[in-house]
């Protein structure tokens, strides 16, 4: 089952590459693939035993027995929502690429391979397999940005590649160190086994191994000061890639922090928690300050991601608590934020892409008065923005509230400062909406059309989860509870 979920998009990619004779065929095959994938992930989510801790649907096969490498897939409460998220975003990404004509076969093939790679990261329980999927994701991203991007696309693609790869080097070293630390027969890359082990007295100091993973994930999330690749990559990437990048690729970093840094190294994480809390505040406030100065819509949304990912780090830092204030509420919020930010910012990038396609500019001072011409796109923009600023009834509110509640009793000052990010978010979101959508209608937009049916599909597929999770958070909180319980229990 999980293998099908992981490799179905790749099979779709193969089909696109071999069978599609035209751009139209390519996008239809791609759409069929992502829709099937979404159906699978929904089915998987529905079949998932919500109350149960531990991994489900586990698939295990020997791979390189001599080195203890396994083909090991499994899903628990931490990964289940992210798998669903990846399924949702895949559909949005294909729909929003509907008008891509340049080398469409290659484009859709790479897009599908990207989805497979991300799925593999979320479902791998063997560190080597995890690392391989982690690296595989780089190739489609590099090509998608450098070929179908805009602006300084080659610079941005290369920057993305180098940053991630540098981070990966640290992770790779950490994985090897972890492996070599045990005597022959006990050597393993199996995360489920490692999570049970006492990781003191490693080959390297445990803090160093922990830091190796931390750096890799901090680049991906991203955490200040390792974030500057993100605005460039976002700005120059095609719309669908921005959607995937903000929607699921950043989540790989958050997922890694929870699964590996918190899951394998509770003591080290506790020691690093004050630092994480401080970095979280920097991410939230510094990111928001910079958003205010951006004049490119995509860059603006990119920096808002930096700010919002700070809440994930803040929630993680709540594990630094001792005694009664260690509740797991903050960690649940962090996991929730991964999901909600994925759909919310995914939608923001969809909308920005649709606007760019029509107005041929993302320069905010040139925009304005678009609401009259595109009420549907404008309404989606406003709704996504409201969710992004944490309006209750949207998922964004639930996630941020849980992060704040869980962390306040541990780091009240850091939480209070970060919570001010919510006020700043209201500022930049509403100001952006005003400069883009409101004001007198301009003659130059007279020829602009509102969203097509396909565009509406791309927006709706993201809008629905934003409100479903906002109105009925139990859908996710129960699942996260089951997944995060064992992790919190070790603190």
């Amino acid at each position: 089952m999980l293998s099908v979920v992981v490799f179905l998009p790749a099979a779709g990619a193969l089909l696109v590459a071999l069978a599609a004779r035209s751009a139209g065929a390519a996008r239809l095959i791609a759409l069929a693939a992502v829709l099937a994938e979404l159906g699978l992930t929904i089915a998987l989510f529905a079949m998932f035993d919500r109350g149960a801790e531990g991994y489900q649907f586990v698939e295990r096969a020997e791979w390189v027995p001599a080195l203890g490498m396994q083909y090991l897939l499994g899903m628990d409460g931490v990964s289940a929502p992210l798998v669903l998220l990846n399924g949702i975003l895949g559909v949005a990404a294909v729909l929003v690429s509907w008008r891509v004509e340049t080398r469409a076969r290659a484009y859709f093939a790479w897009l599908l391979i990207l989805q497979t790679a991300v799925m593999g990261v979320f479902l791998s329980l063997d560190l080597v397999l995890f690392f391989i999927f982690w690296e595989v994701e780089l190739a489609p991203m590099y090509f998608l940005i450098s070929i179908w991007g805009t602006g300084r696309r080659e610079y941005s693609a290369m920057k993305f590649l180098i940053y991630t790869f540098l981070g990966s080097a640290f992770m790779f070293a950490a994985i090897i160190a972890l492996y070599l630390s045990f005597p022959g027969a006990e050597r393993t890359f199996d995360m489920t086994v490692l999570a049970e082990r006492d990781l003191t007295g490693l080959l390297l100091p445990a803090g160093l191994v922990f830091s190796g993973f931390l750096v890799a994930f901090a680049v991906k999330l991203p955490i200040f000061p390792l974030h500057t690749w993100l605005p460039d990559a976002h700005t120059d990437a095609p719309t669908a890639v921005s959607v995937m990048l903000a929607g699921v690729l950043l989540k790989m970093g958050g997922y890694g922090l929870i699964r590996i840094n918190a899951g394998l190294f509770p003591d080290e994480l506790r020691a690093a928690a004050p630092l994480l809390a401080a970095l979280a505040v920097v991410n939230v406030l510094y990111g928001a300050f910079i958003v205010m100065r951006q004049s490119d819509l995509k860059r603006l949304v990119a920096y808002s991601s930096v700010s919002h990912m700070g809440f994930v780090v803040l929630g993680l830092s709540s594990l630094g608590a001792t005694g009664a204030s260690l509740t797991g509420v903050g960690l649940s919020g962090a996991a929730m934020q991964l999901f909600t930010h994925g759909v919310i910012t995914g939608l923001l990038f969809v909308v920005v892409g649709l606007i760019y396609e029509r107005a041929h500019t993302r320069h905010i001072p040139d925009l304005g008065g678009l609401m009259g011409r595109m009420p549907l796109i404008g309404a989606a923009f406003v709704l996504a923005g409201l969710a992004s600023l944490g309006l209750p009834s949207t998922g964004g509110f639930v996630a941020e509230l849980l992060v704040f509640l869980g962390t306040f009793s541990v780091y009240p000052w850091a939480t209070g400062l970060a919570a001010f990010g919510v006020v700043l978010a209201a500022g930049y979101i509403l100001w952006t909406a005003q400069r883009t959508l409101f004001g007198p209608q301009r003659p130059r937009w007279d020829a602009i059309e509102d969203a097509t049916l396909v565009d509406v599909g791309a927006m709706a597929v993201l809008l629905v989860p934003i409100f479903v999770v906002g109105l009925y958070p139990r859908l996710l909180t129960d699942v996260f509870e089951a997944g995060l319980g064992p992790i919190t229990a070790r603190f």
């Binding site: 080097a169 300050f289 509420v329 209750p392 009240p412 959508l437 139990r474 509870e481």
Partner: protein, 662 residues
């Protein structure tokens, strides 16, 4: 006794109307009149149910016992190590009264809006938002859980954002909507911190089997909280109330909010939005009591300062809606004075009467605009001849606002003043006295500006309306509008006349000193189970004299045309400039804080730092790496250069780190 399902319908009928209108819009068209009927039907039904709900609460000591429902759980809240979100319908007399006020006022406003918005291309969007606005406010006043209340609190803010910016093609409207949302959110930040601080007290609640966010639990536990904890919690909630109820120093959004359609203003100023802050403090009153003088004195002082300051700004405003906006801010200040004086029943009583006369005044202003097509009173005058009914309605509203015996405003304002005079709350008597005299001064100003407004609008000769407004002062959307002097249609007049009746009678009948017409004495306060306000004859006489003085001065200046002697006039000129510039607070916030310090200071510096230093360092590293890489690349002919460089760099860093640690 109302059942729980019926009670929930009060909240969800308007929200369902919103959803229905929004979904039907693409098919029915933007101007469909049926959307108005849908909203009116939903709110009308909610009104009927609200009366039932209020009746169900009367004579009961306790709230109607609807249980709460678990919404979601994280961790183990029973052991004080987790969070349980519950939702529930809290129906007590306070809620019952608010339900009737909100649905009643909203119903009248919707009826009136049908004529006011007639022909607007976004007619159905208007009624969708209005239904959402009403539903959100109803959700707020019925919430049993503080977070549930916060959710609707924010939705009220959202609806007002949508309605203030309803005409989003007008830059001023988009500005005002944004300002309203952001300024109130600054206050909500305090509310949020209070929620977080409350959660940090969770273990103490859990030990008693209580949930800190359940309002009945919180109120029962409040006396057991340490005084300073309760005070901080109360002040956090109060910060939210200051934003929502437009109190100093967060009052600046409300005068701008008049950019929305006028019936929206009447709803914002009367029953929804600004009433929410007063309601919140009344709802959480045990917490304020537990917070002691630190909490209550702050509330009273802020209220007193706001009452005086806002009234003074109304003295010089020329836009009729701006006068009314300052008036609302000022009257809300009176309500907070009553809360600070430990008299929530009195505050709610003033909220009750104010809802009627302020809604009436706004609807009158809308009616006037219907004829003169401008809100600028300098171009009005003499309208009583063309619109006698509107004149009568506005006059009743103004008399009630000025606190003239025996209209509704007199009774409630008098109780506020008497409460401030008694000063039962004050740790230091100085605060009580200062607040009392601020209120007296504000009362005099209120009478003056109310009648200045009446005289400038309705008396004297007509000064030309929109046709006389110089082209430079006109908004783009006012081009092509012309004066059409006529009385408004009955759809607009009828709600106004009903409100006028309430503005006359709601005071004495609402809280009479003796039994009258079968209504028991002090019905209102008794219903709320709070201390009744004392009637103080001396205070009543003083306030009447002060009101008469204000009206008299306005009559002298605006009917008789008497002006101040030249030296007095010259002395007052700087004061006038100060008032016309709204104490320069907008300049301070927007010009200095937001534009200079934040936008051109902090934000600019952060952006520069990020581009030059953080990213610059990365580019420098990459440059070094590239040149190293070139050297390395000579050794190999592989194409995945980038991989090679990065791998080499990563390995180098790793080896370096390892060496250092070893």
């Amino acid at each position: 006794m109302i059942g729980e399902a019926a009670a929930w319908l009060i909240v969800f009928l308007p929200i369902a109307a919103f959803a229905l209108i929004a979904l039907a819009r693409p098919f029915a068209g933007g101007g469909a009149r049926v959307s108005g009927y849908a909203a009116i039907a939903a709110i009308g039904a909610a009104f009927a149910l609200s009366i039932w709900a209020l009746r169900s609460t009367l004579g009961h000591e306790e709230a109607v016992g609807f249980a709460s429902h678990s919404w979601f759980v994280v961790g183990d809240p029973g052991a004080g190590r987790g969070f349980e979100m519950t939702v529930g319908f809290l129906l007590d007399p306070l809620t019952g009264i608010m339900l009737v006020v909100v649905t009643g006022v909203s119903l009248l406003v919707q009826v009136y809006s049908q004529a006011y918005l007639k022909g607007d291309a976004s007619y159905s969007r208007y009624f969708a938002y209005m239904a959402l606005f009403t539903g959100s406010m109803l959700g707020l006043v019925t919430a049993r859980n503080l977070i549930q209340l916060f959710v609707f609190w924010e939705l009220v803010g959202l609806s007002s954002y949508l309605l203030i910016g309803f005409w989003h093609g007008r830059p001023a409207a988009a500005d005002a909507a944004k300002k309203a949302f952001i300024v109130t959110r600054v206050g909500d930040f305090g509310f949020l911190l209070a929620l977080l601080y409350l959660f940090a007290q969770g273990p103490a609640f859990a030990a008693q089997g209580l949930n800190p966010f359940e309002i009945p639990d919180l109120m029962a536990f409040a006396p057991s909280l340490a005084g300073s904890v309760a005070a901080w919690l109360a002040l956090g909630l109060f910060a939210g109330a200051v934003g929502k109820s437009a109190q100093f120093p967060l009052h600046t959004w409300l005068p701008d909010a008049m950019e929305g359609p006028t019936p929206v203003s009447s709803l914002i100023h009367a029953a929804t939005m600004v009433a929410a802050g007063v309601f919140l403090v009344a709802r959480a009153f045990p917490l304020f009591e537990a917070g002691g003088g630190a909490a209550l004195n702050t509330v009273a002082l802020i209220g007193g300062v706001t009452a005086l300051m806002a009234a003074s700004m109304a003295l010089v405003a020329n836009d009729i809606k701006r006068v009314l906006a300052y008036s609302t801010i000022s009257q809300l200040g009176f309500m907070f004075v009553a809360l600070g004086a430990g008299l929530p029943a009195v505050a709610m009583f003033h909220l009750f009467t104010h809802a009627f006369f302020k809604c009436l005044l706004f609807l009158s202003a809308g009616s006037v605009h219907h004829a003169a097509h401008t809100f600028d009173m300098r171009y009005m005058g003499g309208l009583r001849k063309a619109m006698p009914w509107t004149y009568a309605a506005a006059l009743i509203g103004a008399l009630s606002l000025a606190g003239v015996f025996p209209l509704a405003g007199f009774w409630s304002k008098d109780e506020v003043l008497a409460g401030a005079w008694a000063g039962g709350y004050a740790a230091s008597l100085g605060v009580a006295q200062a607040v009392f005299w601020m209120c007296v001064a504000a009362s005099a100003m209120t009478a003056f500006y109310a009648f200045r407004m009446i005289y400038m609008t309705f008396h004297g000769e007509f000064r030309g309306g929109i046709d006389a407004v110089p082209a430079a002062e006109k908004q783009p959307y006012e081009e092509g509008e012309h004066v059409h002097l006529h009385e408004s249609p009955w759809v607009m007049l009828l709600p106004m006349l009903l409100l006028a009746a309430a503005a006359i009678g709601a005071g004495y009948l609402g809280n009479a000193t003796t039994d009258v017409l079968g209504i028991p004495a002090h019905w209102f306060a008794a219903t709320l189970h709070h201390k009744a306000g004392d009637v103080h004859i001396g205070v009543a006489v003083l306030s009447s004299v002060v009101a008469a003085g204000g009206i008299g001065l306005a009559t002298l200046m605006y009917v008789r045309g008497v002006s101040f002697p030249a030296p007095v006039e010259a002395a007052l000129r700087p004061l006038g400039a100060l008032l016309r510039n709204r104490y320069y607070l907008d300049h301070l916030y927007e010009g200095l804080l937001v534009r200079r310090i934040a936008y051109r200071g902090i934000f600019l510096a952060a952006d520069w730092w990020d581009r030059r230093v953080v990213d610059g360092a990365a580019d420098l590293t990459a440059w070094l790496g590239r040149n190293t890489g070139r050297a390395l690349a000579q050794l190999q002919t592989g194409q995945a250069q980038a991989y090679g460089i990065a791998a080499a760099l990563g390995a180098a860093a790793f080896i370096l780190a390892y060496a250092v640690v070893r």
